[in-house]
Symmetry: C2
Subunit: 209 residues, 2 copies
């Protein structure tokens, strides 16, 4: 059994609690008690709660962002015509690979992203854009190539609709999966949810103008 350092213990406890309860409803005392470290150590290692939130997300984005970039460049180089569903499929592997990175990594990452978008007043959005904006730009570019029949404006709206679908679904994915289990006796995991949502948003994005 290897020894886990305090910094990692905090990140592990924090990401789980953040994903489950949101940022505002998760106190540092809850985090440190679950991580079995001293309260003061989070300020010692991260500076502040805000920076801890960013560090939690950065751990995933540093893995996800290059993987998505690679996946997108791949279809840019190899495909002449790109369909919308292919674009969304670029997200699948980078997302699912997060499960190898950490237990329930995919769910965790998407929940955190969702929480970040609806909870934060902007500091997270700003942090993501200034640190990982290049991938976002590439994604936008590919979507435009996949939908030459749509105007810039139409794409703008539909991508935000898409973002809403994904972010909202993932932010409440745990609750939804539990309800589905209770009401339909259905065993759904995050991979199933992703493959269920992609046809939905692809149909929406590529619907006639």
């Amino acid at each position: 059994m290897q020894k886990i350092d305090t910094k990692t213990k905090i990140l592990n406890a924090a990401e789980q609690l953040f994903a489950e309860r949101g940022f505002a409803d998760t106190s540092l005392r809850l985090i440190t008690s679950q991580a079995e470290v001293n309260l003061a150590s989070v300020n010692y290692h991260f500076g502040s709660k805000k920076e801890l939130i960013q560090a939690v997300l950065a751990r995933y984005l540093d893995v996800f962002s290059p993987a998505l970039e690679l996946s997108l460049q791949n279809i840019i180089d190899n495909k002449d015509r790109i369909s919308q569903i292919e674009v969304f499929n670029c997200l699948v592997e980078p997302l699912l690979s997060l499960d190898a990175f950490r237990h329930q990594g995919t769910t965790m990452f998407l929940s955190l992203l969702g929480r970040g978008y609806v909870e934060s007043q902007g500091h997270l959005r700003w942090y993501i854009m200034t640190n990982y904006g290049n991938v976002v730009a590439t994604f936008n570019h590919v979507v435009r190539e996949a939908n030459p029949h749509l105007s810039k404006e139409e794409i703008f709206w539909r991508l935000h609709f898409t973002l809403g679908t994904v972010v909202f679904t993932m932010a409440s994915s745990k609750a939804l999966i539990e309800i589905a289990k209770a009401d339909f006796n259905a065993d759904v995991n995050i991979e199933g949810l992703i493959h269920r949502v992609i046809p939905f948003i692809a149909a929406g994005v590529s619907s006639p103008a």
Copy 2:
């Protein structure tokens, strides 16, 4: 100039702040100072913050819910085959009529609903279901009739995807409309946004299984 009673002044201030900043990030002191009433009056009139949140939502649901019920019953009685887009169109008028009920009522209501769904641990969902569950049931019923090719479970998921799209879009509609105006010189209002999102979600919901 008529005198507005304290209870209403609190509700008016609360709904605006709740919609903008969420429930957790809005303190009673912020509400009462904006409403220009005493701090204690919210507990006097509503009992607790939790009950205030419910009262804020109830004010809209009491208007929206019967209007939607009527709209749904109308197509149940008069149509033999119901298309999904017709179902969603049932929402338009009841939603837009909230703008007559209160200034920016449509945006407000959808924002509050979205906040409630992602923030609350369940007490709001429970409150809505036990008080307005009949309309939800009717809506579900109509959607099923419009999509006989889809299983109950599939409909469950797609309706939640839809909810995510709408709620997220409307919650950030103010910012999105401003961006659209700056980037595309496009003049979009809430009504235009609703008519833009309906084809998107209708295509998603009715896409092949």
